[in-house]
Amino acid sequence: MGELIAFYLLAGIAVATALAMVITRNAVHSALFLVLNLVVVAVFYLLLGAPFVAMVQIAVYAGAVMVLFLFVIMMLGAERVGGTTGLRWQVPLAGALGAALIGGTLFAFLRAPAGLAPVGSPPVPFGDPAAIGERLLTTYVLPFEITSVLLLIAMIGAVVLARDSGPEGK
């Protein structure tokens, strides 16, 4: 029962922060709401028994990535360019699309009782870094190596594009 109450509370906060994030006009506030949302989702990961993913979520996502966002927002002074679009057809379309997706999923999940309870407990130790690390370096070693290439090019590209051109354009 306690877990259920905690879940409802967290779910409420998650949805509320997400809504606040897309509605607020100030980009800095948006970013802070997103941080809050990411932290709540990290707590979900803990509830689900995935502590490693939760820690990575806090450290990398809520930490590093969002600091980068805030840094760029403040550097560009872009916090005030907000609001929703002036293209009038897009907002109702977005609303309708969102409602349709939620409705469709609700319908699909409520009609499929198979997914209501866990089919079994994960073997112990299930979510610990050692087990995940072992899989990353055996079964998933190729995708793992590719992520290093991915991060490398993102870094190279970011450096090239964001570097100051200097006075004579070189």
Binding site: E3, L4, A11, V15, A18, M21, V22, L34, N37, L38, V41, F44, Y45, L48, A50, F52, V53, V60, Y61, V65, F69, V72, M75, L76, A78, V81, G82, G83, T84, T85, G86, A94, G95, L97, G98, L101, I102, T105, L106, F109, L110, G115, L116, A117, P118, V119, G120, P122, G127, I132, L136, Y140, P143, T147, L150, L151, A154, G157, L161, A162
Partner: protein, 102 residues
């Protein structure tokens, strides 16, 4: 324990709010944040699927970790492109970014 359906509903709700944000916002940084919210929602459903339906292999968790890495790389590349356009146009409002007529 909380039924899987509830987790999936929360994930879907977050995903849809993200979609709404991408379509309705016009600040490029806000759009990028909405996309991060969508990725976050996908990750939540991946971990929930793993825990409830397929707990014997860690596949769902590993998938979620890869998505986290990609999200970080996307944020870096996207923010670099935004800085680059800001240098040129002094704006990050996608409606003012209109040299190319679509």
């Amino acid at each position: 324990m909380v039924p899987l359906t509830w987790y999936l509903l929360v994930a879907t709700a977050l995903f849809c709010i993200g979609v709404y944000g991408v379509l309705a916002r016009r600040n490029a940084i806000a759009i990028l944040m909405a996309i991060e919210l969508m990725l976050n929602a996908v990750n939540l459903s991946l971990v929930a699927f793993w825990r409830y339906l397929h707990p014997t292999a860690t596949t769902g968790q590993v998938f979620a970790l890869f998505v986290l890495v990609v999200a970080a790389a996307e944020a870096a590349a996207g923010l670099a492109l935004i800085i680059s356009i800001y240098r040129n146009r002094e704006t990050v409002d996608v409606e003012n970014i209109d040299l190319l007529k679509g």
